[in-house]
Symmetry: C2
Subunit: 812 residues, 2 copies
């Protein structure tokens, strides 16, 4: 006789008791029920073991205090629920021969994932020391949250994980990114109810409006109403069923509730619900795939309410543990001072009946192991979670082709939109890679002049269409350009897409890329750790184009001016960070092509989208970008001798202004020897001991001299250059200009002047720093100052800059 779950009662928010579920049924035979429950008990046993034990893993002897870890670390609270879902996914994988990937949202949830992953044998294959026997289990326990061991999150060391979850909020967006273009994959995501309070998670539920049921896989989100955060109830666990159901219907899902604590009825309810959801997903996909009709389906999702710390002691020392916030981390400590606690622990662990679950050698019994799938279908072994296995190189058109490259007779003579040809190149990259490449942006691909891409693939849109969308809307249900006004969601999608072996390109607004500072940090840390894990295969780099840059935000004002993302990037490991500031069309193409081919980096490209002067032929650009920085001979007159001053431009506008300053100076002082350097690859400035792209001191000195003044005009905050170059011999002579938080409503030139990166200020800087101009330069300095004042006056009068601020005389 199998117990039957019941329909949920509105207003009853208790996580305890027999299962209550939207889908009522008892699909599990007694034998299946026993098997599923045994696997789950074994997983829970392992989770407790890894938190507490360093010896006696199978409890073959009575538990002794010396066998307890000195430092009790790890989070038990969410683990049983995580393992519960893993166990039921196993059943589904076997039943439907389904490809699945599991994303664990709750923080510190590793014990709930590692247990089942070990039981199925995956873990031992990656880590032979943690073999399926007593010795291996002992090691498996000891290493958890132990120095030199593994962490309490699903870190990169965790087989089957592409989502670390140390920072909360990204489980759903990662899941959708993994599902894009993987039509056979279903990603089950467990979103914690604490995590569900974060902003990034709250908007990411809308990702269901970006799934095409024909070409994409599916995501089955499970909201885990575990009830508590560290010390507090969660909001979603304390609102009515009616509100919860409305919320997820409002997000476009059909929610199914599974609630309770009684294992037997909970297994039946979960199995019935998972069967129903899988059948529903398959029906949606089959319908779309057989008819070719793409309309937005109402995908299923599950609300799983279980007690926090499910199956741990209900009370310890008279304090409520199970189903309360006290079960969040280690539910009970103080073994050394309180022998009762040791006994409680032993009783708790024995309640899972380890003797039924593991054989004499400590290996899970055949009955337990049979609950798991085999081979690559195992959640710990799926290649989807080690995306480099699935990754194929992009097919790249030749970026030097005349379709993209700008032809140029002489440097500094024509202007062009720097990002426009990149859009054409990306269009053709897209055309060559229509199943494994996507472009992402928060409503800005047209604004960023990358719109050529729509010629081969439009913006994905599956919500309602209006007739006027045909008139320049560029929307399509098979579009591969992903636009949504949430940088968090886009970044999450892209990370999920890359981590499962595909390629992408993300362009975004410079000031607002700070919105995803923290996501960048976390992804960079993931990549950094992966360098140390042999079995992790290389994945494509995360390519981030930062545009709508500070120097063209004169009219949008102060809040749109922030080039500080680079300061965040340089804090991360030199193994994974790359920054490029190409000043013109051809250098941007060269950089982008390089980045699209690279692996395991975060590549940040800074390039404005508006009209800019063009400096390099494609041949020059390739040569220059390969070196990363170099002297522009055509703009220099030191002819290889020691210059009087080194003028440096880094970034499009700063380079233009530095060149204009050089021009002003050369008109005034015909015997002044100026060396002009442009920097594309920012990390060239660091010593080669600090970054693989760093220049040797010898090379640096030969470019920047040992003791001549260097005027460095930089795109970002000026002190970043000092930070990179402070150990260089000539550092004390480096005078850096850049953005210094001076801006309101300006013209472009006025904004440059306010921050002292303008040609006049730079020219005056040179006069101030070159000894031989100290007296001779006084007149010119006054002249430059007057020119600057004239510029400002004109701008205040007309609202625009003087059409040609000063005549541009390049090239000489």
């Amino acid at each position: 006789m199998v117990a039957t779950p019941s329909k949920p009662e509105v207003g009853n928010l208790s996580a305890f008791g027999p299962a209550r579920s939207t889908i009522v049924g008892t699909p599990l035979s007694p034998a299946e029920l026993h098997q599923v429950d045994a696997y789950w008990r074994a997983a829970n046993y392992l989770a407790v073991g890894m938190i507490y034990l360093r010896e006696n893993p199978l409890l073959r002897q009575p538990l002794h205090i010396d066998q307890i870890k000195d430092r009790l670390l790890g989070h038990w609270g969410a683990s049983p629920g995580i393992a519960f879902v893993y166990t039921h996914m196993n059943r589904i994988i076997k039943k439907f021969d389904q490809e699945m990937l599991y994303m664990v949202g709750p923080g510190h949830g590793a014990p709930g994932f590692l247990g089942p992953c070990y039981l199925e044998g995956s873990y031992s294959e990656f880590y032979p020391n943690c073999s399926l026997d007593e010795v291996g289990m002992r090691q498996f326990f000891k290493q958890f949250s132990f120095p030199g061991g593994v962490g309490s999150h699903c870190t990169p060391e965790t087989p089957g994980s592409i989502h670390e979850g140390g920072e909360l909020g990204y489980s759903i967006s990662h899941a959708y990114g993994a599902a894009f273009d993987n039509p056979n994959l279903i990603v089950v995501t467990l979103a914690g109810d604490g995590e569900a309070e974060t902003g990034p998670l709250a908007t990411s539920w809308h990702s269901n409006k970006f799934i095409n049921p024909i070409r994409d896989g599916a995501v089955l989100p499970i909201l885990h109403l575990n009830g508590y955060k560290i010390n507090n109830p969660t909001v979603l666990a304390r609102v009515s069923h009616e509100e919860l159901e409305a919320l997820f219907r409002g997000y476009g899902y059909t929610p199914y509730f599974v609630e309770g604590s009684d294992p037997e009825t909970m297994h039946q309810a979960m199995a019935a619900t998972m069967d129903h959801c899988l059948t529903e997903i398959h029906r949606i996909q089959a319908e779309a795939r057989s008819t070719g009709n793409v309309t937005r389906p109402r995908w299923p999702m599950i609300v799983l309410r279980t007690p926090k710390g499910w199956t741990c002691p209900a009370y310890v020392d008279g304090k409520k543990i199970e189903g309360f916030w006290r079960a969040h981390q280690v539910p009970m400590g103080g073994m050394k001072s309180n022998p009762d606690h040791l006994r409680i622990l032993e009783t708790w662990m024995r309640s899972y009946k380890p003797e039924e679950l593991f054989d004499e050698q400590g290996k899970p019994t055949p009955g337990v192991m049979a609950a798991a799938p085999t081979g690559d279908k195992r959640l710990g072994s799926t290649p989807y979670a080690n995306g480099g296995h699935l990754r194929r190189d992009l097919r790249l058109p030749d970026f030097r082709d005349a379709k993209y490259a700008l032809s140029l007779e002489k440097p500094g003579t024509i202007t062009a939109m720097n990002t426009k040809p990149l859009g054409i190149f990306l269009r053709d990259v897209m055309a060559c890679n229509m199943t494994n490449f996507r472009v992402f942006g928060p409503d800005e691909n047209t604004s960023n002049k990358l719109d050529a891409i729509y010629e081969v693939s439009k913006k994905f849109w599956i919500a309602e269409y209006f007739p006027e969308d045909a008139d320049g809307g560029e929307l399509a249900t098979d579009g591969r350009v992903m636009e949504y006004l949430s940088e968090h969601t886009l970044e999450g999608w892209l990370e999920g897409y890359l981590l499962t072996g595909r390629h992408g390109f993300f362009s975004t607004y410079e000031a607002f890329v700070h919105v995803i500072d923290s996501m960048f940090n976390q992804h960079a840390k993931w990549l950094d750790i992966c360098h140390e894990i042999d079995w992790r295969q290389s994945i494509s780099s995360l390519n981030l184009l930062i545009t709508s840059t500070v120097w063209r935000q004169d009219h949008n004002g102060f809040t749109h001016q922030d080039p500080g993302f680079l300061d965040v990037v340089v804090n991360k490991s030199s193994r994974v960070t790359r920054i490029y500031l190409p000043p013109d069309v051809n250098s941007l193409l060269s950089c982008a092509n390089h980045c699209l081919k690279s692996k395991d980096y975060v590549n940040v490209i800074v390039s404005d989208k508006q009209m800019h002067l063009q400096y390099m032929t494609m041949d020059d650009a390739i040569r220059h970008c390969t070196k990363g920085l170099g002297i522009w001979d055509w703009a220099s007159n030191d002819q290889g001798s020691e210059p009087d001053v080194v003028m440096v431009g880094c970034g499009d506008i700063p380079t233009q202004e530095a060149l204009a300053a050089t021009d002003l100076l050369r008109q005034e002082f015909t015997d002044l020897k100026i060396r002009f350097i442009n920097v594309v690859d920012l990390f060239r400035l660091q010593p080669d001991t600090e970054h693989p792209h760093g220049l040797s001191d010898h090379d640096f000195d030969s470019l920047f001299t040992l003791n001549q003044p260097v005027i460095f005009n930089f795109h970002g905050y000026p002190w970043l250059i000092h930070r990179l170059a402070y150990r260089r011999h000539n550092h004390n002579n480096m005078h850096v200009r850049g953005y210094k938080e001076e801006g309101n409503i300006n013209t472009p030139m006025e904004l440059a002047i306010a921050n002292n990166i303008d040609r006049f200020t730079l020219a005056m800087d040179v006069i101030n720093r070159v000894p031989k101009l100290k007296v001779a330069g006084a007149h010119a300095k006054e002249k430059f100052l007057n020119m600057q004042i004239d510029c400002r006056n004109y701008a205040y009068e007309h609202g625009v800059d003087i059409p040609k601020v000063v005549d541009w005389r390049w090239p000489y």
Copy 2:
């Protein structure tokens, strides 16, 4: 005869046509309708004028091309909707004599706010040049998005604004922050449908679970379904009524729809709906306030669907404009090249009938002005939007009191939790300020050891209660501690609370404070601009305690280790940024007391919550914190003479390790003269020309010497110190240690060793850098290295550090 709106039809997503609304009614008499419509037309006229015109503001002559601005900037798309809501708020303010504040979420929405603000006379009072006549209107038009003028957002220069909105996502959380503890205030927030896609906004709808209807005011959110972002439809404008209604019911609101484009019926529908919502809010408040019963009410909210660019030309050059994304910015340009466009503009502007709206002098007619309230009730003049007017100083207990201060016989002899006494101090601050002070944290105030505060005020909670909450839940419906697992929402609440004249304290996890990098940037920019606006009164500083710091994240692992927020902070203006790293209890109390009294800053305090050595008596701490940095004589043996080396600690753990290194060295080398400096106020390191807290070169040199080696042990990324000090004379001898992205699962000492901030590395650094130890130090160096290896071995074996890593011999 007044037209009647109709009930909304499910499935009809068009923004055009006669009004369809949930609340049907025609509350406006023909005269009232005419008045409301006239005000709105006048506002729309002004919005167009400020985008296009530099002359001829009243169209007294036919429009001539020379009267058009050279550069057309500004965003028309959301403006009519913004002005529509402003106009209807005016009616409500007058009808109910209601205190109101208006928060404009849609980006670049200033034209829609500035127009009504000018009409009511507020703008002219703040800016006499923009008088209520033709000359003033001309200036009002010209200055918009014009160099030296005002921006296209509701910037700090905008009377009536506390929400700039340049970065999207924070309108709702700002609104709730403003409503807390302002029982007579209703904040109407217009959330753009583009903004609604952001994560921060998506979770901030749940703020309704944090409003107490007795002591707090109310927020009436209006979702503006304007239909489009820059180039794309918005998701929420393209989902069914059924889903939208469910979504907002799920968020806990009762949604009311107002949809359409026909002005007459839209005015009636909006008036009927606003009347209904206000009555509902008043009923909820009256009920709670008369009974004292606090249960979570279902607050009203409005979904307002209108055409993007409402009332602009429907088509230009055959392209759809009104109700399409083309209306987002300037709906039509090219006046110079296309005389037709000039005529279209003139026809468009005249469609508002300016001759009916403004008198001969250009002043709004009495009929128009009568639609607005008067005095401080005007939305542009409300003191709630200039919070310094309402701000009263905190009543602060004496932080030197024995209740808080730690008494100490000798430095470095005892340990204590640094944040625990701060919690007691905050408890008493709270007790003295129970209507204008709140404490904020993402589920971490207990974890951060600030839990003493619950003795006087618990965590606010108004969702469901369970019996077990009484057992350590610390929840209350009148709690003043705000905990929600969204740093975005907390930061938004706090900003809204401060900007309306109150005080607050926010503690959060160091690694995850990066989640709000961008919000910090925007608030810092707001404060910076306010320094230049005479009429903006000073508000309380934003006090941010960064805890759970990197050096105690050994067990949580790599993702929890990120001290980079400081690098973001130092990019912002020195007028508003302050950073403190107090190393012990008393210095933390001293810093916190100082910060709570300060105005117009963002104060960042870095302090870990665990057990730390104590160094300073309260008297010493006050002296030390006032100086910001200084020599610790008790730890130095240079007795005022030139030292052989300067050892610097900045931050709790780095100071401890630097002291331990000093101890190791003094045992080995009795004639080595070490000067020990501790830095609390980070900006002291910058030159006084760069930051008001900066030390003069003379003072810096006297502390750090001109040419002796300086070993600087820093809490954060080491290069930040170089960035601050690169212009100092002795910079080339500064050797900085700090976090360098080396970490996984470690012990605390192992983590310190991995990043070279440990005592052994520092001691070896000194030997390497002090010439006289070059030979003499070889043996000691080997000894220190062996001690370091012993530490690591012990940690790997036992999972914990050697109980006392080395004997602590302080004080000498």
